[in-house]
């Protein structure tokens, strides 16, 4: 399992990681800082009045946070422990595979997630691409 996750992450890194939203969200692009704030729970809205549903793609989590904030999963988990147990916010929803992430983002205007750049299709819109 660990080997598979590592291989998946490496493959995704080769294609880049696409941060995706719903095409009807009204968002065309989003800065790296904004993505960082959203996925680390510092801000909770995609736009004013639009609470964000933030989604982690489990197999890609290591590569995503390494690329976004240069931190490994143990540091990210410890970070979320700080926030969860002081009631600041809850961590992103964790989904097992990219297909399910695409489905969720495609049906929820408030959702934001990330997938392997090669898997993006017309049901979702790429708003930021992270390279390794």
């Amino acid at each position: 399992m660990a080997l598979w996750l590592a291989l998946y992450g490496a493959a995704a890194a080769a294609n880049g990681i696409a941060v995706i939203v719903n095409p009807d969200s009204g968002i065309d692009s989003i800065s790296r800082e904004e993505v960082s704030h959203l996925f680390l729970g510092r801000i909770k809205h995609l736009q004013p009045g639009m609470p964000a549903l933030v989604i982690d793609t489990l197999p890609l989590r290591q590569a995503f946070y390494q690329s976004l904030v240069r931190r490994g999963i143990p540091e990210i988990n410890a970070y979320w422990a700080r926030l969860r147990f002081s009631g600041r916010t809850q961590p992103p929803l964790q989904i097992e595979d990219a297909a399910m992430v695409i489905e969720r983002v495609a049906r929820d205007r408030n959702a934001i997630g990330y997938i392997n750049g090669a898997l993006v299709d017309s049901r979702v819109k790429t708003v930021l691409r992270l390279e390794d």
């Binding site: 800082e33 510092r42 909770k44 809205h45 490994g72 422990a81 147990f85 009631g87």
Partner: protein, 409 residues
């Protein structure tokens, strides 16, 4: 105890009724409750027979000299949290650890209803905590900390870090980060163990403010807090006895023991994380206004470097808390007992302690970490290190070995 339980029940009743109101506001949609928790199973050993090392003043005990002890760092907490639409959420948290009575009675901690209408505004009501800790706003979530425990020299002397009240956080972008200002106020909660006795401060008002700037790899924090206590009669028997002594200075000293006082804290901190390297520092100033006025400073620095699942780190911390007023008083020999009681009272918070430590954190599985840490602690006076009667230790040097399993679920 009755007051504490009734406050808890009152808090829960308010929380549940407001949760119901929030749910009704949301078209009756049921909130999604999530259960989670955290814990530490920790052991410690030092060779100073007859002395107990405590990580904070709220615990009656800790690591006893000459044997492996599990009481000081072990704890467990459970939490239920719910999210509603329209920006409402709620949380109930309970923590069990060695308390000021030497028991493990679960205590209600972060329990509140929250309303977040936008990213710029956040409000909570219920049982809340002061945010002094750069690694998290609770001293109990070991998994969130790099080291085995938050620096006792700086944060272990902070008491009553919970309060029943409200807070308001305002947030806005600033540069490539986010600037937030948190204002809070309420009634302080918490007990402490001093001089071998449990001490429950009377009703006290807590006010505070925290200014944070958070960017991708840097967090800067300035914090201020004040606890104003009235009707603190703990030293009144001594004051009454001194007032009855026909010596002007004794009577003057008696008049100086006010029943109202402020405990004021100010702190500056930073947390820097870049790749595998992390550094954090905290500097604090404190003042206690009851006679004899105390002034203190504390500092803590932790440096860490992650290598795969391992994160070696070093720590340094120190605290000094000394009376800053004249306290001289010489009573006649027949009043030696009163003289001794007076000397103990004016010296009751004196503390000069420093520690240097090294350790390694091993994240061996998701949400599990083991830490091994060695601390060299030197204290000229310490209210954290106590003897078998609970009295403060003096001129102590000890090496503390700690191992802890931290987890969250």
């Amino acid at each position: 105890m009755k007051t504490r339980h009734s406050t808890t029940l009152c808090l829960l009743a308010i929380l549940l009724s407001l949760s119901a109101a929030a749910s009704a506001d949301n078209g009756g949609q049921e909130p999604i409750w999530r259960l989670s928790g955290f814990g530490t199973f920790g052991a410690g050993y030092h060779g100073s027979d007859g002395l107990t090392y405590r990580r904070d003043l709220e615990q009656a005990g800790g690591h006893d000299g000459g044997r492996v002890g599990f009481r000081g760092d072990s704890r467990i907490g459970v939490q239920a949290s719910a999210s509603f639409d329209a920006g409402w959420s709620a949380q109930i948290q309970s923590v069990s650890r060695l308390d000021s009575e030497g028991k493990w009675t679960p205590q209600l901690s972060w329990t509140f209803l929250r309303y977040t209408p936008s990213d710029t505004l956040d409000m909570r009501i219920g049982r809340l905590g002061v945010d002094l800790y750069l690694d998290g706003d609770s001293r109990h979530v070991g998994y969130a900390f790099t080291a085995v425990r938050p620096a006792p020299e700086v944060l272990g002397v902070v008491t009553q870090d919970l309060f029943d009240g409200i807070d308001l956080t305002l947030r806005r972008p600033a540069g490539d980060g986010l600037l937030s200002l948190r204002l809070y106020g309420g009634r302080s909660r918490g007990d402490l163990s001093l001089y071998g006795r449990q001490y429950r401060p009377p009703e006290a008002r807590r006010l505070g403010a925290t200014l944070d700037w958070v960017s991708e790899g840097l967090t800067l924090r300035a914090a201020w807090g004040d606890t104003y206590t009235t009707r603190d009669t703990s030293l009144q028997p001594l004051a009454t006895a001194l007032a009855s002594v026909p010596i002007p200075l004794a009577q003057a000293r008696a008049a100086q023991f006010d029943t109202s006082h402020h405990l004021t804290f100010a702190g500056l901190g930073f947390l820097f994380e870049r790749g595998p390297f992390s550094a954090q520092g905290m500097f604090s100033w404190s003042r206690f206004s009851q006679f004899p006025t105390y002034h203190g400073q504390g500092a803590n620095v932790i440096l860490g470097y992650r290598v795969g699942a391992f994160k070696p780190y070093v720590t340094y911390s120190r605290v000094s808390l000394d009376p800053s007023e004249e306290t001289d008083l010489s009573l006649p020999a027949p009043l030696a007992g009163l003289q001794s009681a007076y000397a103990g009272a004016v010296d009751r918070l004196t503390m000069n302690q420093r520690s240097i430590g090294a350790g390694v954190r091993y994240d061996f599985a998701p949400n599990y970490a083991v830490k091994f840490q060695v601390d060299r602690i030197n204290a000229a006076e310490s209210i954290l290190i106590i003897d078998s009667r609970g009295m403060p230790a003096r001129d102590v040097g000890m090496t503390l070995y700690s191992i802890a399993l931290d987890f969250v679920f």
